[in-house]
């Protein structure tokens, strides 16, 4: 058996099948065109009927106003007289020598601009890109309470930010390092899964759940379609960076390539019994060749990030869960028994084969020097900075790099995206400033959070369009491939 033999097993599809399929596809096109025309026709009919109805209403309105004209004309005369009195004390409408009568105290005395009372210029806000005058603050009628600048600002609520479990520590570190005293209203964060966060960002009607979302995945095509259906189609998307881990070993250790499944079977506390996969047993593996006969005989030893750190969460989500779901008997539990599934996937063994180590440039090399067989999980920036002390990535697949993070081929990395509901930008306190600070996450992120900045080209692209809104065509390749 060789390549040519295997290739010779191919066969052309039967010609009648090829023809039939092509006809089906053409028929699908014709059907789509027919539907499109039908939709257009309906829209046209609707437009014509709507116009006719509007015209009819206009005629009726005019007829009724003609009937009541005599009664109104007297009232209008009175109103015009009153108006001429009230505008008389506007200095800018009169000559410089004008002196107001009486004490001159009028509702307009403080109004030195031509802006309407509720406009951003009168609120003390800087002109913000993307801000609109359609927001309730701009459109709201001027009331005595709102005409005072401070009163209006105080009436705006603080921003609500939904953060996914992987990114919450990063967002909190950004918020903690914000300059203090920003209008006195701190944003509120809520840690929530991305699916629920996107649903909250695009809640229908006037329900305001979240103004911003920081997620470790991109919004899906279907989720964005839901937003649009709910009337929210102006969403700013910014890619902030990545979170990435590297599985590596000491500089002088023998290189080895492991799959996520190998790592899971090495360090999970309980694994499926190889003889009876539906049963879960305490992990008996102590050397790598017990997991897979193709791996070399080498004692299992892995240093990982401490629990309750962002890096541990990334490790659990990107490596343990992936390896865990590769075991069919566990994958089946994902829907049947989510708690057991999570327990089996995320609980690591507590014997000496897996141990936690602080991510410092002195401790990790020391541990690897003491145990040359050990592997270690470090964040990507640490790996880059200490490359001379470490071996290549021990995980199957491409070497870690921002290019591999960007195209999604490196499994231990997650992107970080920020989504902002543009309509809310003018409705919550300092939303624009907050958005800009989150967009500059690289300046605030802590070193041990696993944060990786975008490469220069991507960063430049993001900087050049901080308020560009998302469109449906931006979301094509990954999530919108029909399933």
């Amino acid at each position: 058996m060789h390549d040519e033999f295997l290739k010779a097993l191919r066969r052309d599809p039967p010609p009648q099948f090829a023809r039939r399929l092509k006809q089906q596809l053409q028929a699908q096109d014709a059907e789509a065109k027919r539907r499109s025309w039908s939709r257009r026709t309906r829209a046209l009919v609707f437009l014509i009927v709507g116009s006719a109805f509007a015209s009819g209403m206009l005629v009726l309105e005019r007829q009724s106003s003609e009937k009541s004209e005599p009664a109104q004309s007297q009232a209008q005369t009175q109103m015009a007289a009153a108006k001429s009195d009230s505008t008389a004390y506007r200095p800018r409408s009169l000559g410089p020598g004008f002196v107001p009568e009486g004490n001159g105290a009028t509702p307009f005395d403080n109004d030195n601009s031509h802006e309407p009372a509720g406009s951003p210029a009168n609120m003390g806000f800087p002109a913000q890109p993307g801000s609109t005058t359609e927001g309730p603050a701009a459109a709201a009628p001027s009331t005595p309470e709102q005409t005072t600048q401070g009163g209006l600002i105080r009436s705006q609520p603080p921003a609500r930010i939904a953060v996914s479990p992987l990114t919450d520590a990063l967002v909190l570190s950004v918020l903690a390092r914000r300059p203090p005293g920003k209008l006195g209203a701190e944003p509120r964060t809520q840690t929530i899964e991305a699916d629920a966060a996107f649903a909250g960002l695009c809640a229908p009607g006037n329900a305001r759940q979240f103004d911003m979302v920081v997620a470790s995945r991109r919004i899906a095509h279907a989720e964005f379609a839901t937003c649009r259906r709910n009337g929210i189609d102006r969403i700013i998307e910014s890619k902030l960076g990545y979170q990435a881990l590297v599985l590596t070993g000491g500089r002088d250790s023998t290189p080895m390539k492991l799959s996520a499944s190998d790592v899971y079977l090495a360090i999970a506390r309980k694994i499926p019994d190889p003889l009876e996969p539906a049963r879960f047993i305490d992990n008996p593996n102590i050397t790598w060749d017990q997991i897979d006969g193709k791996l070399e005989y080498r004692p299992i030893a892995l240093f990982g990030p401490a629990r309750a750190t962002p890096l541990h969460r990334l490790f659990a989500a990107a490596l343990l869960e992936r390896g865990c779901n590769a075991q069919r008997s566990i994958e089946r539990l994902r829907l049947a028994d989510p708690d057991l599934h999570a327990d089996l996937c995320h609980t690591v063994r507590d014997d000496r084969l897996y141990s936690e180590v602080e991510q410092t440039a002195s401790l990790i090399p020391q541990n690897l020097w003491a145990d040359p067989n050990a592997f270690v999980l470090v964040d990507y920036e640490f790996y880059r900075e200490n490359r001379g002390q470490l071996s290549v990535s021990a995980l199957e697949g491409p070497e870690p790099s921002t290019a591999a993070f960007a195209d999604g081929t490196y499994p231990l990395a997650r992107p970080i995206y920020l989504y902002v509901n543009l309509t809310h930008l003018t409705r919550v306190v300092d939303a624009y400033g907050l958005m800009r600070e989150l967009q500059s996450m690289e300046r605030y992120a802590r070193g041990d959070s696993g944060f990786v900045r975008l490469d220069e080209q991507d960063a430049q692209q993001q900087r050049s369009r901080p308020t560009q809104t998302l469109s449906e065509s931006d979301l094509i390749p990954e999530r919108s491939v029909p399933r």
Binding site: M1, H2, D3, F5, L6, K7, A8, L9, R10, R11, D12, P13, P14, F17, A18, L21, K22, Q24, L25, Q28, D29, A32, K257, E396, G397, P398, T409, P411, S473, I476, P477, S480, V481, P482, R483
Partner: protein, 176 residues
């Protein structure tokens, strides 16, 4: 004979999307997808059904395909993979390729019979391999993709694909 043309989408990737020659793409990709399913899943009737389902999905979504983000064959094969996964999930028990040849009897020349017999035997051997290795065989020898294209679809590195395929063929040869 199966078409050995280069990836049409890659060949024309500098042109705007609306200028894709869909007839050429169809002619080039149909045998690849068809043979991918023959190697991967089995069952002649199912192969046609899954091929048709893949093309229907791709055809209806073709306006959303973006050439600057993925080569056409990568995009199409990702759809095919998803169609295949959905099918495998719904099918019990798993019996790749075994039934394929029985149903292929409508084409009756002796050469076809011998070839199908080989395919049937190959199917029984690959059924013992892990899912990922079955996928690699189907992509390489069924769909005639090169190692770079396979790497893009499977998330493995190009060299890893080459090494794995070499190892798989050695294993199959030893069991043949």
């Amino acid at each position: 004979m199966v078409s050995q043309q280069m990836d049409m989408a890659n060949a024309g990737s500098r042109e705007p999307a609306d200028k894709v020659d869909w007839d050429a793409v169809y002619a080039d990709q149909l045998p690849r997808i068809y043979n991918y399913f023959r190697f991967r899943l089995g069952g002649e009737a199912e192969v046609e059904d899954l091929t048709a389902r893949t093309f229907e999905k791709a055809w209806s979504a073709r306006a959303r395909y973006r050439r600057d983000l993925a080569g056409f064959s990568t995009w199409l094969f990702r759809i095919a993979q998803n169609v295949g996964i959905d099918y495998l999930r719904s099918r019990h028990p798993h019996a790749p390729l075994d039934a394929a040849v029985d149903l292929a009897a409508e084409i009756t020349p002796e050469l076809e019979a011998a070839r199908d017999s080989d395919l049937s035997r190959l199917g029984r051997l690959t059924a013992r391999l892990p899912e990922r290795e079955q996928e690699l065989i189907a992509l390489k020898y069924g769909a005639a993709l090169n190692n770079r294209e396979i790497a893009r679809l499977t998330g493995l590195s190009e060299s890893n694909v080459g090494t794995s395929l070499y190892r798989i063929v050695q294993t199959l040869r030893s069991q043949w």
